[in-house]
Subunit: 479 residues, 2 copies
């Protein structure tokens, strides 16, 4: 389809669907209300039958309305009907040497089991990725490259790719040059190198609570102590708490996932980011920001990053294409500010250069301008999926369950009745071939016992619905 | 060409060439002697004219004979005419905290300068690699893969690739199963993970002397002290010295490149390897062996590895395809014996999985059985190149220069008159756009001042000859 045409048509039915959605949100249309027929909608709005149908189809796929056989469309669900938000957790009393236990290994091992209905994998489904166009990019660069991409790439990374990453940074208000960027083997390598560059063993580093378990593992491997900062499910790190914690725990660095934090889905408001950067700048404390979910926003604009407000070069920005384009390519990057030479030196020591072919293919894909279009499709799909999953959780899980409202990213954080243990639920669910990530692995102290995380990266299917229903049943049995 | 036919013809002219080479080595034919004409050789040996010509062509490309216009073929060069071997260096007196200086960074930065005649790059020229067949493998796996290789690969590595690596191990007498192998982002990541798995900061680790500077960097980044063990240019590590050094310096681990060590080119005899493994087994000291050059032997058989003799699981075998097949693919591996779980856990912490597409492509290439044929061509080319380079060094460098006799790998180690400083030579050579690796960067203490390393990975050209001639001139000027 012609791209301009695609966008134009897109605009029409989306616009109609959004107006109906607003009516539902404002409770002008209530759950159970009958909607106009497709024909009547078409007449009323002066749109084609197919546009009217597409608008209803979009609302249906978001779980907001339902088609009842031989009857028509009905309002099904509104945000007002979801379960409560989880509360910000209380902080622990001390800085804690990281100890990552066998639980994490058991969850990670399960990730590769293909029979599993896997809610614990925080990655987009392959069908949401532009596979054909990426293949084309691979073939194109193989043909173009004099060395068939067999040469060692520059340690800092493919220059064309760094240029594209620099351009992409414009979206969050960044103005790095390609020379400020170091390409890495995924964001995890970027985090690991940055942590190593700015800390020494025994240092205390501030992180969110709950936090992604791979971040604990990185910190553990560098012998650091962590200070868990209370994190609001909507607005992220509690800055007042952090300000007091810095002298109290002698915090040497921070590592935060400000945009669509994993697992909470929280997004720190941009003005908080500015305050955070200013606060740390005064104390000369570096901040590693992991922005792998930043492009996956459901709202109108991309949230900014802390790097946007960084004047002293103290922010080490890390990100990757693993969540937005090509997980298996293992291409990430960092913009480490004043620590660039140090990080580059560590990169040389640990993995030398990053894969030549994948870097060239991603650079090629980005340079032909299809990335933005792909991201638009991906954001829309993830948004729809998030609503579908939230609806199912509301339908199937016990009424005293709390659930987050992610405005981007992949993950839902679920807080259960205090009597239910997340790890036990994980073990029971596994017997039914359902994988979840129990809450305990998102804390250095095994807290969040009554929580778990599910990812909505997979498009909705009957089987997923049944899986969530089964999870709800297990939860009810365990009370 | 049909492969069987190719091998058969190969055998004929190689056999004739080898007999002539033996005559030259035994001085039955001396430098300057005239050889039979191609026609006469063909008659005498009962071989075709083309086979006779190929035999001479092979000897010529090795630099052993030369064609003089309108006159015929003459013996040009024999091993007996090369310069002296360097001596085994004296050991330093103490275990030393690693400190890697700016010299290394300057050499590494220069690697990416395309104008440079680069003798400091220890990698095969791209034209020696099977580019077309690797491209085919990439396209094949992209077509075959349900996920277009966009999925995260197993953290331990692609199962088909591990199977092929396990098969390949048969060549050095190894019998690992695919489950014993962990795929890494090149050998440097394998070394880094293994070092981290078996040491703690402050430990003393034994290494060869001189040793490859990237190894110092890995050890430095883990906060280790190194004990440099005297290393013979032919037979490798001095085991008697090592045995005494272990208690004296409280050595906790060893890291050796036994086969075609970089930079010495030394190859530890297999019986030494057995003695080394037995010695370390008695003291329960783990040994990391970096075998990246093992497949690039010039002799009749592949040297064994220490892993071959490992009964206690104390040997952590590391290798890669970077020197033999695809540098830019960044595919290496380790067989870490009893430390497997620990190494796998570290892998998960630092880079998670390795590039999916490159792993699949290498597995595909290996499974179609062309790797052995490619290696045979590559070994032959490198052997020829090594002789050419040695000859040029003998022709152009001052008479008091000493030079190694590598029986595999990529590198020549050159010891100059004590008055000449390798780093100064490096700086002067750079002005003539010639890159060498000065001796100082192969020691933790800046020793080997009067040495440097050149790589013969690039096929012989006029320009390389001129470059070596210029180096010789600079050396003479500096005395």
């Amino acid at each position: 389809m012609n791209e301009t045409l695609e966008i134009k048509q897109d605009h029409k039915y989306v616009e109609v669907a959004e107006r109906i959605e607003t009516l539902i949100e404002k409770k002008v249309l209530k759950v159970g209300d009958k909607l106009l027929s497709v024909r009547a909608l078409s007449k009323e709005q002066g749109i084609s039958l197919s546009t009217a149908f597409q608008a209803y189809y979009m609302l249906e796929s978001k779980g907001l309305i339902e088609a009842r056989p031989q009857s028509g469309y009905y309002v099904k669900f509104s945000h007002a009907h979801t379960l409560d938000l989880p509360k910000t957790c209380d902080p622990p009393d001390d800085a804690i040497p990281v100890s990552v236990d066998d639980m994490i290994n058991s969850v990670y091992v399960d990730l590769n089991n293909e029979k599993l209905l896997n809610f614990s994998m925080g990655a987009p489904a392959i069908e949401l990725l532009p596979t054909a166009k990426l293949n084309k990019a691979v073939m194109h660069v193989l043909r173009q490259s004099k060395t068939c991409c067999l040469n060692y790439e520059h340690i800092q990374g493919n220059p064309a790719l760094r240029k594209q990453i620099a351009r992409q940074a414009f979206n969050w208000g960044g103005t790095p040059s390609e020379d400020d960027i170091i390409v890495t083997a995924g964001a995890v390598e970027a985090l690991s190198l940055c942590v190593k560059a700015i800390t020494k063993p025994g240092d205390a580093i501030a992180i969110e609570s709950p936090t992604y378990f791979a971040i604990f593992q990185v910190l553990e491997s560098h012998g650091l102590k962590v200070v868990e900062i209370p994190t609001d499910p909507l607005t992220g790190v509690d800055l007042d708490y952090l300000e007091k914690a810095i002298p109290r725990f002698d915090i040497k660095a921070c590592l935060f996932v400000n945009n669509f934090n994993n697992p909470l889905g929280s997004c720190m408001p941009d003005e908080h980011k500015k305050r955070l950067v200013d606060m740390l700048a005064k104390k000369d404390i570096p901040l590693i920001e992991d922005d792998i979910y930043g492009e996956l926003y459901f709202g109108k604009t991309r949230p900014k990053t802390c790097k946007t407000f960084d004047k002293k070069g103290l922010v080490l920005h890390c990100a990757s294409f693993s969540k937005s384009l090509a997980p298996g390519y293992r291409i990430g990057w960092t913009i480490p500010g004043r620590f660039k030479e140090k990080v580059l030196r560590l990169k040389r020591m640990h993995t030398v250069s990053t894969n030549t072919l994948s870097q060239a293919a991603v650079a090629d894909f980005l340079s032909n301008g299809r990335f933005e279009l792909h991201l638009r499709h991906l954001r829309k799909a993830l948004h729809t999926q998030s609503l579908r999953y939230v609806q199912a959780v509301s339908d199937y899980f016990p009424d005293d369950t709390c659930i987050t409202r992610p405005q981007g990213g992949f993950t839902l954080w679920i807080e259960m009745n205090k009597k239910i243990n997340g790890y036990k639920l994980h073990k029971r669910a596994l017997k039914h071939n359902i994988g979840i990530a129990p809450g305990q692995i998102f804390s250095s102290q095994g807290r969040f016992e009554n929580c778990f995380r599910i990812s909505y990266g997979q498009p909705w299917t009957e089987r997923i619905g049944q899986g969530l229903q089964m999870l709800g049943k297990l939860m009810k049995d365990m009370r």
